[in-house]
Symmetry: C2
C-alpha cells in the first residue's frame, strides 16, 4: 500500500507529531478490531484485482461506454465473489466508495431487491427465488417511485388487478405519470423487479403492495411483450446505474408473484390483511440505516482529501515576509474542515445508536411487539435526513475548501458531492421525512401531557430542565440545552397548532401553516439525539481507550457540541437555555478547540484508513504529491492527444481568417 | 414564442390571478423599458438562428465532441455578430445563460482578455492590438492563476526578466507549481494571452505585471517553441471552455509586449512605477460586477424552473381525501422558493447600487481621485462573495425543491448549479474576499473612532442606534437592526484584536485567531448593504409604479428583510437590536408574507421573461407540460437506441449463465 512510500515534507511533519495510536482510533471508527480486519481484507481484495481498475478515466468516456465499464467491473466482482470469500453484503458495501464511484448497475440487486425478497416474500417464495437471486440468474431492482409520485406512496398510480378466472394479476400504467421512473438498474440491467402497485381485488383497492415481475426474457434479455422499458437519461451524478422507466400495458403475472409475507390474495380473490400495517416498512428502515453509513463514507473521503491537501497547499501570508503558510494554519480553514471530521464521528456513533434501536425493534417484532416501530421510524427518518444533509453540505464545504482544484474532476470531490447530495432526495425526501418526525414529536408531546407512556427517545420532552449558571458548560449541559431548545420549540408549535384549531382552522390547514417550524422541531430533535449518542459513546469508549485517543475523541465531541450549539444559539437564547454570555464563551471555545485539534487533523483522517485508490483523488493521496499528480492526470485528457484540435480547422480557423 | 401556446390548467389558473402588470415588472428587473427591448432583441436573434441549437443533447457527447460543439456555436455567433447587430458586450452576455450553457470557448476573449487590453495596455498598444482582437485575428485569455497560486497574486512564481541586450522579456516557469493553470480557453482555443508574471529588471523584482504573450502560430495554430500548452481535464461543470495550462521555458517576448498603461520598463531596463498601485485592479472590479450579474441570471433560471414545476407537480395530502395538492401550496415549499425569488431582486438592486459606486469611482479616477477605490474594492468583494454564495445555495435549494427530477440533467438544474458554484472560487475566493472586506471594516472603524473621515458605506458603523420598541418593525428598523448587528460584531472583534495585541500576540496571529468572526463581520456588513439597497430602490421605483407592482415589490422586499433578520436572530438578540418577542413576530410575519406572495409566485417568475429555450428544462417550460417532456427527453438517451445493450452480451450474460 501507498502508506509505505515516502510522503512529502509537510505531511511528514504532520505525522511526526501524532499524539495517539492510529490503529486504536481506526478500530473505533470501524466498530472494533475484527471490523477493521474484515474491511481491510475486502479492501485488499479489491485493490489487488487489476480487473477492477479503469483503463481510461471514465470522465472521458461516452454515456454508453461508462455504463459498460461499470457493468464490466461489477459482473467481474460478482463472478469472482465466492472465490474471493466475499458475501453479498460485502458486495454491497463496495458500492459507491471504492471501485464503482458513479453508480453500480448491480447495487440495487444486492441491496433493495434482495432486502425486499427477504422482507416481503413468504417462506415458500423465498425458497423458490433466493437461489436464483444469489446466483444472478435473475437480476432485480425495486420499482416504487413513479414519474408523478415519489415519497407519497399512497399516491402511486400503477394498478395490479386480480383476475380470479386466470389467477393472475394484471399490471397496468394508466397514465404517463404512472410510469415507474428512477429505479436504478431498471433501464437495461434487470430482468426482474419488485414492483409496488395499487392492489385491486373483488373491485376494491387495498393500497400499494409488492409484486415480483419478470421484465426481460431470461435467455435473450429482450423486454417482455406488454412492457416498455428504458433509460431515463443523464443525471447530476450516478450516471452508470441505468436508472430506468417501466410502463405496463395490461401485463399479466401469476397470483403467486405477489410478495405474500404480510398480506395475501387467495385464489378466489379474497384479501388477507397483514398483522401490522407498518411491518412492510422494514425494508425502508434497513435502507435508511445503509444510507447513513454510505453518506458517512463519502464525507470521510472528502474530508481526508481536503485535510491532506490543506496541509500541502501553501498560500498567502500569515507572518509578513515569511513563506506562504500551509492553508490548514488559517483559522477559517480549520473552521471549514474540523467540524466535518467531528461530523464523521457523530454520524458513526449515532448510526450505531440507531442500529441498536433497530435490533431491539426487530427482536420485538419477532416476539409480536410492534410498539417500538413508530420510534424506529422517527429516528431512522430523522437520522437519514440529517445525515444526508450534513454529509452533502460537509462534502461541498470540503470541495470549496480546496479552491479551484476542488472543482477539477481529478480531485474526486465533484463526484463525491454529486453522489452524496442525491441522498437528500431518495428513499424519503428530507422535508417530508422531517415532517413525519415532527408528527411523531407532537403526538408524543401530547401523550406526555396526558400522562401516557412514550418511547425512550422522546422522554426528555417532559423533563423539567435545571437552570445552568456555569461559565463553562459541561457536555451534558450543552446536550440538555439542545434538548431544552427542542422542548421549547415543540411546545410552542403545539400551542400554535391548538390555537389555530381553536380559532376554526382545519387541522390540516393548521399543520401546513406551522410546517416551517415543525421541520425545525424535527431537526433539533435529531441533533439532540446525535449529540447525546456522541457523548455517550465517547464516554463508553474512553473507559478502555488510551490517553491519546481519549483526548482526541473528547475534543472532537466537544467541537461537535460547540459547533451545533453556537449554530442554534438564536433558539437557545430565546428558550432561556443559554444567555448571551454563555454563547460568547462557547464561540471562544470553538476557536480554542480548533487550535488544539489542528496538529492532529492529518493524523485523524489517516486513521480513517482509506486507500489512495478508493480516494481516487489527485489532491488527497497519502504521499501529498499533489501538483505532479494534477499535471499527470491532465495529460490524460483526450484534448491533449494532439496539439491542434480538429475543431480548430472546422470552426476556429474560418473565423480567424474571415476578414483576410 | 412559446408564450402564445396553450399552457396546462394549473398554470392557467395561476396566470389568471395575476395581480400586476407583467411588462412593468419585467422592465424594472431589466433596468428600464429600453433595456428590456434590447435584451429581447438579442434573445430573438439567438432564438431564431438554427445554427445555435444542439442537434444532439451535449450530455451524450464525449468530452472532445462537447468542446467542438460549443466552438461551433460561438464561432458562428462571432462571425455573424455584425450582421446581427450585436456588440462584443452583447456576445459576452450570451455566455452562460442561453446558448452556451457549459462554458463558451470565446467568453474569456470578449470579457477578461479584452478588459485587460482596455484597462492595462497603453494607448499605442491598444491602437495596435484592438483591431486584431475585435476581428478575432487574435483570440486571447487572461492567465493569472497558477497551479500553486490562486487568489494571492503576490505569490505567483512565473517570472518575466528583462534582457536589455535584446530588449526582450524572458518568461519562465521555474517549477511545476508555477504552471499557469485554470484560465479558460487557454488549452486549445487562444493564440494569445495576457500573462501575469513577476517582473524582474536590473536584478530587482517589482511584483506581478501583465504581459501580452503570443501562444500559438497565427497560421498553423501550433504551440510556439518554448511553451507547453494543454487542457487541464474535466471539471464539475463548465466543461467546454478548455481551461488550460501553460508552461514557459525561457520564452522571449518583445519589451513592448508588457502592458504599459500604468507601469513601464524603459529600453534600458529602468522601471517606471504607476501613479497609483491599485489602479490595475480595475479589470478585476469590472469582472466582479459581471459575476454578480451572471449568477443572478442563473438563479433567475433556477427559480423559474422550480416555481413553475411546483405549480404543476401534485403530491401527498393536505386535506384528507382530497386530490393531491400543488406542491407550491405547502408552506415548506414556499419557504424554499419565495426567498430565492426575493433574492433575485436583492441581487438586481444591489448590483445596480454597486454599479453606481463604480461609475463614480471611475469618474473620480479620471479626475485623479483615487480615494474611493478602497470602498469600491470592499463593496465589490463583499457583493461578489455574497452573490456567489447566495446564488449557488439558492440554485441548489431550487434543484432539491424539485425532488428526484431536479437531479435529472434534462431539468437543467444540475448544470445551473455546477456553473454557478464555481463563482464562489474564481476571481477571488470567497473567504479571502470576506477577510479583505473585514480588513477594510476594522480600518474604517478605527478611523471613525479617531474622528477621521470614512467612505459613505461604512459611516453607519459609528451611528448611535435608537432603541426600538415597536411590536411590528418597519423596513428601516429591520435594516438598522442589521446595521447594529454589524456594528456590534465589528466593535467586538476589534476589541478582541486589541486585547490580543496588548497581551503580546503579533498582529498577524491576532488577526488569524479572530478570522472566523472577521468573516462574519464582512458577511453581515454586505447583507446590510444589500438590504439597504433593496429598500431604497423599491422606495424609488414605487413613486412611479402601479399599485399591483408596488404591492409585489413591497412584499418581496419585506420577505427578504424578514428572512435575513430571522437568520441572523442569534446575533441581533445578542447585540440588543432585537428582543425575543420581536424575533417571534418576525418569524410569524414570514409565514404571513409567504402566504400572500404564494398566488403571485408563478406570475413573478413569468416576469423574468426567460424563453423556454434558454431555460432548457423539462420541468420549467412555459406551458407546464412537464411529464411528456421528461419522457420525450429520456427517449433520446443512446442507451434507448437498442432494447438490449451490447454490454449485456459482453458482461451480463456470462455472469447470468455462469452456473448453468
Amino acid at each position: 500500500m501507498s502508506k509505505h512510500s515516502p510522503c512529502c515534507e509537510d505531511l511528514q511533519r504532520e505525522r511526526a507529531r501524532c499524539s495517539f495510536n492510529l490503529d486504536e482510533l481506526t478500530n473505533i471508527i470501524d466498530g472494533g478490531k475484527y471490523a477493521t480486519e474484515h474491511r481491510r481484507k475486502i479492501d485488499n481484495i479489491l485493490l489487488s484485482d487489476p480487473e477492477l481498475s479503469d483503463p481510461i478515466p471514465p470522465d472521458y468516456l461516452s454515456y454508453e461506454e461508462r455504463y459498460a465499464n461499470e457493468l464490466r467491473k461489477t459482473t467481474h466482482l460478482s463472478k469472482t465473489q465466492e472465490e474471493k470469500g466475499l458475501t453479498m453484503r460485502d458486495l454491497y458495501t463496495v458500492h459507491g466508495l471504492s471501485v464503482m464511484r458513479d453508480g453500480n448497475p448491480l447495487s440495487l440487486h444486492v441491496s433493495m431487491f434482495m432486502n425486499a425478497i427477504l422482507g416481503l416474500a413468504s417462506k415458500e417464495q423465498q425458497d423458490k427465488w433466493l437461489p436464483l437471486v444469489n446466483s444472478f440468474k435473475i437480476i432485480g431492482t425495486y420499482a416504487q417511485t413513479e414519474m408523478g409520485h415519489g415519497t407519497f406512496v399512497r399516491g402511486l398510480e400503477t394498478t395490479a388487478t386480480y383476475d380470479p378466472s386466470t389467477q393472475e394479476f394484471v399490471l397496468h400504467s394508466p397514465t404517463v405519470t404512472s410510469s415507474k421512473w428512477w429505479p436504478g438498474a431498471l433501464g437495461k440491467t434487470s430482468n426482474y423487479a419488485v414492483v409496488m402497485a395499487q392492489l385491486y381485488t373483488r373491485g376494491k383497492c387495498y393500497g400499494p403492495h409488492p409484486f415480483l415481475v419478470q421484465l426481460r426474457d431470461l435467455d435473450t434479455h429482450r423486454t417482455l411483450p406488454g412492457l416498455r422499458l428504458g433509460d431515463i437519461g443523464p443525471r447530476l451524478g450516478l450516471n452508470t446505474n441505468d436508472n430506468g422507466f417501466l410502463q405496463f400495458e395490461h401485463h399479466r403475472i401469476p397470483r403467486t408473484n405477489m410478495l405474500m409475507k404480510h398480506s395475501q390474495v387467495l385464489e378466489d380473490g379474497q384479501y388477507v390483511k397483514p398483522l401490522h400495517s407498518k411491518l412492510s416498512y422494514g425494508t425502508l428502515v434497513q435502507t435508511r440505516v445503509d444510507i447513513v453509513s454510505d453518506v458517512r463514507k463519502k464525507l470521510m473521503c472528502a474530508v481526508t482529501i481536503a485535510t491532506r491537501y490543506s496541509a500541502v497547499r501553501h498560500q498567502s501570508e500569515l507572518v509578513p515576509g515569511e513563506p506562504e503558510p500551509q492553508i490548514l494554519d488559517y483559522q477559517t480553514q480549520q473552521y471549514k474542515l474540523l467540524p466535518q471530521i467531528a461530523s464523521v464521528f457523530a454520524l458513526t456513533f449515532s448510526a450505531r445508536a440507531l442500529q441498536e434501536v433497530y435490533m431491539n425493534t426487530v427482536a420485538g417484532i419477532d416476539d409480536g411487539k410492534v410498539d417500538l416501530l413508530p420510534e424506529l421510524h422517527a429516528l431512522s427518518s430523522g437520522l437519514k435526513a440529517t445525515a444526508a444533509s450534513d454529509a452533502s453540505s460537509g462534502v461541498e464545504i470540503c470541495r470549496l475548501a480546496c479552491g479551484g482544484h476542488g472543482y477539477l474532476s481529478s480531485s474526486n470531490l465533484p463526484r463525491l458531492y454529486t453522489s452524496t447530495t442525491c441522498a437528500i432526495t431518495y428513499d424519503g425526501e428530507n422535508t417530508v421525512l422531517f415532517l413525519q418526525v415532527a408528527r411523531y414529536l407532537i403526538k408524543s408531546f401530547r401523550a406526555l401531557r396526558r400522562g401516557q407512556p412514550v418511547s425512550p427517545s422522546v422522554l426528555y420532552l417532559s423533563v423539567q430542565p435545571s437552570p445552568v449558571y456555569a461559565s463553562k458548560l459541561s457536555n451534558t449541559e450543552i446536550v440538555s440545552a439542545l434538548g431544552r431548545g427542542a422542548q421549547w420549540l415543540v411546545s410552542r408549535v403545539e400551542g400554535q397548532l391548538q390555537q389555530l384549531e381553536a380559532t376554526g382552522h382545519q387541522p390540516h390547514a393548521a399543520w401546513n401553516s406551522c410546517s416551517i417550524h415543525l421541520v425545525q422541531c424535527a431537526e433539533i430533535h435529531t441533533r439532540y439525539f446525535m449529540c447525546e449518542a456522541f457523548v455517550k459513546k465517547v464516554e463508553d469508549i474512553s473507559k478502555d481507550a488510551s490517553h491519546g485517543v481519549r483526548e482526541v475523541l473528547g475534543q472532537l465531541c466537544r467541537l461537535y457540541l460547540l459547533h451545533h450549539s453556537v449554530s442554534a444559539s438564536g433558539l437557545l437564547i430565546r428558550c432561556g437555555a443559554l444567555d448571551t454570555n454563555m454563547v460568547g464563551n462557547l464561540e471562544k471555545e470553538v476557536c480554542k478547540v480548533l487550535k488544539s485539534l489542528r496538529p492532529q487533523a492529518v493524523n485523524i483522517v489517516d486513521a480513517f484508513d482509506i486507500p489512495d485508490h478508493f480516494l481516487g483523488s489527485t489532491l488527497g493521496a497519502w504521499d501529498g504529491n499533489v501538483y505532479q499528480r494534477l499535471y499527470d492526470e491532465a495529460l490524460k485528457s483526450p484534448l491533449n492527444k494532439t496539439d491542434v484540435p480538429q475543431a480548430y480547422y472546422k470552426y476556429l480557423r474560418p473565423l480567424m481568417k474571415a476578414n483576410l
